[in-house]
Symmetry: C2
Subunit: 327 residues, 2 copies
């Protein structure tokens, strides 16, 4: 059994807990929290909740630590630090800072002889893998990533910071006509506005100026100004009833040409439609935790990404089963 | 530069020739044929065409041999034999015989210290990789492979063997309602007939009994009897004009559930829409030829499949570029 620790206990961690408990080759041995362990209710029986300050007592009891902190401030510190003692996996998703994070984790993981797999999930993660395979196969081509329909936490938070807003949920929605143009192989140049719509469901404080709130949303730089944005004002009950899920998904499409005169066109499309963004991300993390364990057992160490890991290491099935049933 | 040889020179080989010539890190150094080399016109300038009996004169001039023979009789002999002298890549696609082929190639490749990558293409190949990733991420689920719309060479050949048939082309077509049922997450049990339609375009000899031909097609065991089959009789000119391409494609879809009570559903879909089946397969072979070279340089040897090879080895881009632009 691969002994798994979970570091942090929010939505993502609850997804990892579920995914690990559903395997037959992994065992959840502890959940670490910065909170008072007694205040944390988990979904697993007989698994200790431990304060993060005691984590070093667990170095010989855990094979892989799945780190479930946030990318803004937690993971840049936690992953390099924990890689000194454990094989680790994280979902660091600040694309621009991945090279720096990679270097930091690589340094401590090489020194400790552990494996640190970073930026695992669906984007970065499975979307990245698909962008990579497709561009390697069709180098003469162009790729497109569309996100949604799904909830963007960052955009929802941005709306909530507006005066007079009590709560809000923002959906990122790919524009159908743009998707169709890409699928047709036209390889269009698309602006942000042409690729995605933003739809907002907003609960306003009583008596708030709805016109002003709507204007503040649709003109907000970076978040909304470059998009067509639809704003709906709804009640708190409606928000709870109709918008409490955290679905997401998206499309990675590459169109490319082959032939003596580029006369043949090919479309590769990968898409996800997810009821629960954190649970799916957690499922990817869990599969890569298995890979981290196996690669470390083989003597590998240092930082890795989804690009560095052969598919077979992710599966619970034996290689013989994979060849027989999947190849 | 990675020095590439192509063994055999049919449609697939012409695709590899194109794909290799389009890279900037590979160089086509020779094409091998069983025919009289003087009778073979290739699309590359200054590349020698060599008889296969002289292949051993090229062992120190070729880094990877891309073997473009057929799966029925060529590859089972050619790949293990050539792996004694070269890193090799093939597109062996007789799914049931892959374990045996793997063992044979593994034996000679381990002995020679070379890398042999087998069963590369899109199915087996990219479809296999997607089946594997998806099932590892969503172990509680079910996967489906649909083929088409595309030309099946085997089914076209089967029609051509019927008395009174001059020429024929058969298209395998996925059934839309089955695709939709799978995408909806219903995880249906589907028969062969429910998944695929077969549409045949047949040129009959003058005076042939069309009713008999149609009946022989739709009742043919293994090939057509288990499917709804549509037969069109057309002229030779129409066949040439409208059906001379070799398009193909298909869908790999996995639906799976996560959550404490399997309450969340996720759909992963990978699809290909290919103008030219052999050119796309060739593009995948070419990317894996790069991987074979790099893995052998790293000291690896033996037989490998798409499951064994980390994505990064396929790309011409540096790892730094991949991290920056694709992750």
């Amino acid at each position: 059994m691969i002994r798994i620790g979970i570091y942090g206990y929010g939505n993502l961690a609850r997804g990892v807990e579920c995914a690990v408990n559903a395997t037959s080759d992994m065992e959840l041995v502890a959940i670490f929290t910065r909170r008072d362990p007694k205040s944390v209710k988990i979904n697993s029986e007989n698994v200790p909740v431990v304060n993060t300050r005691d984590v070093l007592e667990w170095t010989d009891k855990i094979d892989v630590m799945v780190i479930c902190g946030g990318s803004a401030t937690d993971l840049p510190k936690q992953t390099p630090e924990l890689a000194k003692y454990f094989n680790v996996v994280d979902s660091f998703d600040t694309h621009a800072k991945i090279p720096e994070h990679f270097a930091n984790v690589n340094e401590t993981a090489l020194a400790s002889g552990k494996v640190g797999v970073i930026s695992v999930g669906w984007d970065p993660g499975m979307f990245s893998v698909n962008r990579m395979y497709s561009s390697a196969i069709l180098p003469n081509g162009k790729d497109y990533t569309f996100w949604g329909k799904g909830v963007s936490q960052g955009h929802s938070d941005a709306i909530r910071r507006i005066e007079g807003v009590k709560d809000a949920k923002q959906y990122t929605i790919p524009v159908d006509s743009a998707l169709e143009a890409v699928r047709s192989g036209k390889a269009p140049e698309l602006t942000a506005r042409q690729k995605h719509l933003r739809e907002c469901f907003v609960v306003a404080e009583e008596g708030a100026d709805l016109k002003r709130i709507e204007k503040e949303i649709v003109t907000m730089p970076n978040y909304f100004a470059d998009y067509d944005t639809i704003v709906h004002f709804i009640t708190e009950e409606e928000l709870k009833r109709d918008h409490s899920g955290i679905p997401h998904g998206g499309f990675v499409i590459r169109s490319g040409k082959t032939g003596l005169n580029s006369e043949n066109q090919h479309i590769i499309e990968y898409s996800l439609k997810l009821d629960s963004n954190p649970e799916f991300t957690a499922s990817v993390l869990t599969a890569y935790a298995r890979a981290a364990y196996r690669l470390n057992k083989k003597g590998e160490s240092g930082c890795m990404t989804v690009f560095d890991i052969a598919p077979k290491y992710l599966s619970e099935k034996t290689f013989e089963e994979l060849i027989k049933t999947m190849l």
